[in-house]
């Protein structure tokens, strides 16, 4: 990735983070207003309880049937902290096979992403777990690439003989800005989507050859990827201790 592209992506990321951070107090204020008793001074404790939500990405599962050259599995988990903040994590694994006339190799990787989500909608009640959220993640993937055989095609001088590059292991790091929504379709069962902007932080590692597909990140030869996920999740809930719920 060129320095120019890197600067562009960092600029987009910075602006996005700034917009997100600056919007949080507004939503937090709206939430606080809902959580504040009439005299405006006493704030009631968060009565929403605990929730651990586990989900699977349906788009990735569907893509596995469509693509013959890449496979991937992605899962997500989030845990409600308080004040509409969620700890969030995604993980998974995948592989890709490049079998073109002029380029042949395979790669595989697992990945993990850690970060947080902030729900930007006020709840209707403490039972309301539907959410529209924004979040940040840091992602990491150890990648294993096989040896590469390649031909340089040339119509004037003829193609070069097949040459090889040795296999290699390396890591990918990225930052991600995400936004989306999630609705409870049955008790504890959620469907939701996320749009994710992912920005590679160590693009120079891929200069020799960027993998076709990095599970969790997307195309390896792009400095930024925009990914769409559809999650089916199940939320396990339990109540907080010493919380007297007000009638909603």
């Amino acid at each position: 990735m060129s320095i120019q592209s890197m600067c562009k992506y960092l600029f987009i990321l910075t602006i996005s983070v700034w917009v997100m951070c600056s919007s949080m107090p507004v939503f937090a204020q709206a939430q606080d207003a809902a959580d504040t008793v009439s005299d405006g001074k006493v704030k009631k404790p968060d009565s929403a309880g605990h929730q651990l939500c586990l989900g699977v990405d349906l788009v990735r599962l569907g893509s596995n049937y469509y693509y013959t050259d890449r496979k991937g599995y992605e899962f997500q988990a989030d845990y409600y902290l308080k004040n509409e903040f969620y700890l969030a994590a995604e993980g998974g694994w995948g592989n890709s096979t490049v079998n073109y006339t002029d380029l042949k190799y395979t790669s595989s990787n697992s990945f993990i992403q850690l970060g947080f989500n902030k729900s930007i909608l006020a709840r209707d009640s403490w039972k309301d777990w539907d959410m529209m959220m924004m979040g940040l993640r840091a992602g990491f993937a150890p990648i294993s690439r096989s040896s590469v055989s390649y031909i340089v095609m040339d119509s004037v001088w003829g193609n070069t003989p097949t040459e090889t590059l040795p296999g290699k292991n390396y890591n990918a790091f990225w930052l991600e800005l995400t936004g989306g929504m999630r609705v409870e379709i049955f008790k504890g069962l959620y469907a939701g989507w996320n749009l994710r902007g992912k920005f590679i932080m160590n693009g120079k590692s891929f200069r020799e050859l960027a993998p076709l597909y990095i599970a969790g990140f997307g195309r390896g030869d792009k400095g930024a990827n925009f990914i769409f996920n559809v999650y089916l999740s199940y939320g396990i809930r339990w109540e907080r201790k010493s919380v007297n719920r007000l009638k909603s």
Partner: protein, 164 residues
């Protein structure tokens, strides 16, 4: 609300999958282009070369492969390529279609470059030297030694004898 959201989710997912492709199309130039310009001096005392617009220049790659001849009309800039297999290659050149042929020899270092999975690998080059015979060509200079897939850079300048 829930049913609408679920339908929308499913629709978006299907659209996303349906719009994907197997191998992405390659949008980058996949050949490192060597741009050669022809110039001449207007007089023996002139110090500044001017472009020579050659009426029907021809270039032949010296290769064992049956290749098309590169024919140019009224041009002063020619796009050639270097052999990716070795560090040396030759082109035959004449400023006119049936004129005497000069040999232009290019000596260079190769550098393997990965463009993308769509385009594969390509060789970029660094020119070491250029030598020519002297039927129509007086001499040759390297203007820019780095030959890559940027087609807007002139790399070599050949000086044509004034009587051409």
């Amino acid at each position: 609300m829930t049913r609408t959201a679920a339908t929308l989710l499913l629709f978006c997912a299907m659209m996303w999958v349906a719009c994907s492709q197997q191998r992405q199309p390659c949008l980058d130039p996949v050949t490192a282009s060597l741009i050669v310009s022809s110039v001449h001096f207007k007089s023996d005392t002139s110090k500044i070369p001017v472009d020579s617009s050659l009426p029907s220049a021809v270039f032949y790659p010296v290769t064992v492969l049956p290749n098309d001849t590169n024919l140019y009309s009224s041009s002063s800039a020619f796009i050639l390529s270097l052999s990716p297999d070795t560090g040396f290659c030759q082109w035959l050149f004449s400023p006119t279609r049936n004129g005497a042929l000069d040999t232009i020899s290019f000596y260079y270092q190769r550098r393997l470059e990965f463009l993308s999975n769509a385009c594969g690998f390509i060789y970029f080059y660094n020119l070491d030297s250029v030598r020519t015979t002297h039927k129509a060509i007086d001499s040759a200079d390297i203007l820019n030694a780095t030959v890559n897939n940027n087609v807007n850079t002139k790399h070599v300048q050949i000086f044509i004898h004034p009587n051409y």
